[in-house]
Assembly symmetry: C2
Homo-oligomer: 182 residues x 2
């Protein structure tokens, strides 16, 4: 790994943390660079600017090849990825990256189109039964709502639930979402 690749990836990792914790507009390039132990000007050199850095971070966040693996159930894959048990801190999870920036006046549209291209459309293509769109939207709603309620709003009934209890809550709501009949 060359020197430049090293700083590039350090920058990218730091950016993903900041964008996922504070959102695009609240994240400062100087802070991102500082956390990566690197000079601010290098962001412009390697990514062309703040927007380029965000695009790179977003692309990395939404790269879920398992979603296309025919051997795996796409819904189960999505649950695993969304609930993200590998991340030690859910402040920086993909869910937060999406939710926190989907409304941003600058990057909101990029986030939404990336979300559709990389996640929602592939998921929809692999679901069957009636009212696929409606059930899929309800599934997304449950995932997103649970994440916000647990980690952002910190409502005790979810925030204080242990992993097993929270998993039961999630399953119950997801089952309801997917079994919806108009």
């Amino acid at each position: 790994m060359s020197k430049s690749e090293h700083t590039r990836s350090a920058l990218l990792q730091s950016a993903t943390r900041q964008f996922g914790e504070f959102g695009y507009s609240n994240a400062s390039l100087r802070q991102i660079a500082g956390q990566a132990g690197v000079d601010v000007a290098l962001i412009s050199r390697y990514f062309g600017g703040k927007l380029g850095l965000f695009d790179a971070s977003l692309k990395e966040c939404l790269n879920w090849p398992e979603l296309l693996d025919p051997a795996k159930d796409p819904i189960e894959t999505a649950i695993e990825k969304f609930t993200d048990p590998t991340s030690e801190d859910h402040k920086f999870s993909t869910t937060r990256m999406i939710i926190l920036n989907a409304d941003d006046p600058i990057v909101g549209e990029r986030v939404r189109t990336a979300l559709f291209d990389k996640l929602i459309d592939p998921l929809e293509a692999r679901m069957d039964g009636t009212h696929v769109k409606e059930r899929l939207a309800m599934f997304i709603a449950v995932i997103v709502g649970a994440s916000i309620t647990r980690y952002s709003l910190q409502v005790p009934g979810m925030a204080n639930a242990d992993a097993k209890m929270h998993s039961r809550q999630l399953r119950h709501l997801i089952d309801a979402a997917l079994s919806f009949k108009c």
Copy 2:
């Protein structure tokens, strides 16, 4: 209504729109004042500053006296208020005001404590049965998730649903949330 009260309320209304659309940090005082047709400096005069303006707006947003009315079912009241059929544009609903600012590094904590004091605690006090906290959290998750999915992410299966269909989706998920048994 005196002159000062008029500009004060114009400022407050404009602020609620901007805070609800862009969030605290992305909303600019000059833009808020401009939309209210008023000079920026008057914000400091009437509200003491940006934080004071936000506090006033938040307080107005979360003032739901119906929640304490013993003649009304609190859950039904919450559903009505959250889905907010009176607002012509959901970009500025209370739900957005809360979600969009609950993570803000400056006002996030204020939002969360206000949410608990004004909404969650009163709701919890008027629910009965087992696992009240867990079911209430799941209820919140459904409301929040549906709002984001429909209006922020704009997932077609919810964003394009008409009022009747969306109401059915909401009811289905809410029923599931409230009927959860550990």
